[in-house]
Symmetry: C2
Amino acid sequence: MVMNAVGREIPEKIASIELEPFRGAFATPPRGNTISKNIWSHNPGKKKLLSSISEAIDKSGLKSGMNISFHHHLRNGDYVVAMVLDEIAKKGIKDIGMRHSSVFAIHTEALIEHIKNGVVTSFEGNLNGPLGKYISENPCKEPVVIRTHGARTLDLERGNMHIDVAFLAASASDDSGNCNGVLGESKFGPMGFAIADSWFAERVVIITDNLQPYPCTPISIPEHRVNYVVNVDNIGDPKGIATGTMKITEDPVRLRIAQQVVDAMDAIGQLEDGFSFQAGAGGMSLAVVKFLHERMLEKGVVGSFAMGGITGQVVDMLHEGTLRKILDAQAFDIPAIDSLLNDPDHVEVSHYHFGNPHSRGCITHQQDACFLGATEVDVDFNVNVNTHSDGLLLHGSGGHPDAAAGSKVTFITTPITRKTNPIVRDSVTTVTTPGECVDVIATDQGITINPKRQDLWKLLAEFDPKPIEALRDMAYDITGAPEPLEYTDKFVGVIKFRDGTVTDVVREVKREG
Amino acid sequence: MVMNAVGREIPEKIASIELEPFRGAFATPPRGNTISKNIWSHNPGKKKLLSSISEAIDKSGLKSGMNISFHHHLRNGDYVVAMVLDEIAKKGIKDIGMRHSSVFAIHTEALIEHIKNGVVTSFEGNLNGPLGKYISENPCKEPVVIRTHGARTLDLERGNMHIDVAFLAASASDDSGNCNGVLGESKFGPMGFAIADSWFAERVVIITDNLQPYPCTPISIPEHRVNYVVNVDNIGDPKGIATGTMKITEDPVRLRIAQQVVDAMDAIGQLEDGFSFQAGAGGMSLAVVKFLHERMLEKGVVGSFAMGGITGQVVDMLHEGTLRKILDAQAFDIPAIDSLLNDPDHVEVSHYHFGNPHSRGCITHQQDACFLGATEVDVDFNVNVNTHSDGLLLHGSGGHPDAAAGSKVTFITTPITRKTNPIVRDSVTTVTTPGECVDVIATDQGITINPKRQDLWKLLAEFDPKPIEALRDMAYDITGAPEPLEYTDKFVGVIKFRDGTVTDVVREVKREG
């Protein structure tokens, strides 16, 4: 056990996974080299277009014990994960490692089935929804490795995570694999998550339901990254992209929190020409974008760019002139997808470009502000978005730590309590984003500011910021202090920061009876 | 010495360069692995924008004995090569290897100066213009390595050519290095050549004269590939892009050759919907495009794509509906540059995508036809575009072998004689493109067809094709047979085919007196 820089005890190894302790947001220098891959060729006249996923699995050389990946741009509307796993299972292939970017509720049934039948035995990737609960209660032999979006690309590049075969959905592709996500019935927007897979996986299979004549453009992934193409009936339902968290909040308390963030950005002096930001998903973040747009219109301010996770609201800013550019690695609704196709100033980027800290430069390092949610925050300003307060691993890290570490000012929006649960507390259940990356927390009971940002304490004096301990006390007054959780000696998951170090581990919660 | 598959004697090694003999257009399988590079980082707030090229040279760590690269998108209007070499010279750095994509007449003076002063001691890259003559008469210690555009990207990827620092001109860039060639006074079009450098060079410096607010879009090279940015007064003069070879021929004989190619494509049955082609530069190729466009309009045919080297004439085809898409790795004139910015169906691609044969797929392998020029052709259908008939190394290979090997039908357009020189001859001075890649040769004295293409002999019977020996005889009747050249035992250059094997070497010609 080693104590890391956010005070968590980290084992040196869990099963076969070696853990490097988190040392500080920018304290761990780049290490290692980029992976070296076999060189392939594809002579004229050779066909990449295969007749079925079954044939693609055969041709890709997939065998028991290998790792496969998927992107999650179709989110809760994705059919590809289940489709591929079912075919793998039919072939008797076992012990597959999932190295996906994220999975959602729609994947739960198939994944639990294939855990039970031994087809899938390990997970490295974000988990969302009931699968996390299942794995929390039935840990795999290897812990689930949760990485930030940036860390996923870094660990792929340096070979700390290996993908044998990437199965990548595309809403349009030609028979050579030039493909995108902006055309066709199943369009889902940019292919930001898939781009690193196309660079670093040993084999790349494009799965489309919309075969286009060569050359299919725009080209999100070019044919020279693609080994095979399969045309299926339906890769998914875009209606599943905009999940419940994509609706602007109507709760007056939450709207007030959002308004507070915009007021604070204004008071800090951020709302000037050239302002840039990243909005998260979720009702409060969407409300912040709405109020921000209104304020910028009012002030006649033109922002430089928004990075996303893009919604129609951000597109409105582009169309109405409060933003010059949109950098888009993930679309959250149909207006965002259509704008990516049609607006030249709305530009697709990869998640490597978005947030890889050990690259020659990433977008999050250029952001003035980001506003993000939290499941819990603690008096050290650490944020948890991975586990619920009952200790179950229920969410991925997404780009939360990437945005928080990179942005000049990171705002967290959260009520101080949810139902009977204190959100502001002594210690978060799991450290997703270290407190040093968090600057301002806006709550229903006012704002608090990280003590290391004395500059912001001064600029935001009129907001009457409270010490975070005061907000914790108010929360505990309402809900009582949280009961400490009891754990078994088993590990459910590992939470990797953007540089590949470990901010926390998730332990199995002791169950009653 | 080894005899290669086009009958040339190839040494196993010249100076430090190991030579692998050409075995056949698709006979040498991929070998080796992709290079592994150090992992870099760039923390928020750190500046990439440097005050001068001098500072960029210092920061890049450039030392005597290292290799540098440049792209040639500004062609005969480029100021960057001289600018950088002058600064390197001032610092006393010596023994630099040039690993450029190509150099032109405009670079001659600076390069000869820096050869003489010992700053530049080796060349791997295309040479155009008087520099080739100088080096032919004053060979460097290491032979000049001439690669096809595809081979350059392959040998960079597998580490057979190494770049320490790439100095890449951009007509627009932000201070983090997101850049393109389509905006600004010095716009030059796509950055097709530079993209491989940005992937594989140890350090990448963007040199721009048009600093844009972050984020600069469109993004041809993203910031995560860029170490430093320098803003200078002027990277070049776009008027130098469209050189003399970019004018459509007015010579009735050459126009007739061009017309013949279009007639032949039609007779073969290629001019159907979905037809694709690559046009070279040069007056006759431009004439082919013109006649092709007219014929396709007449027939109501819509082609799928043109790959280029793009000119305004190809853009006219897109605008007038005889082409669906343009894939563009290099712009040859201003209308092409502007179309790349404004037409969504005109898409930038890299030269890796264009022609790397040992990738997962390249564009040339999808082309129905290409029409290319020749300095000489021989009775084995081999083509020379590197040396003049006096044995001097005067031109690069460009994409000639890539297009010829990949396209279903390769047309060569050439008169049988030029001045007192027989162009069709027993044996080309230098084998650039092996005869097996060449299908039809259209000349002022009729067409000839490669005997291996009996299908084309039948389809083109009405053109009364002649055996190539007959064309050679006609040429020799006019000019006499060529005098054999006499060589010293020194080597001037090595001609590498697209797979990295050697089709020929260039020897020093014995001088009189």
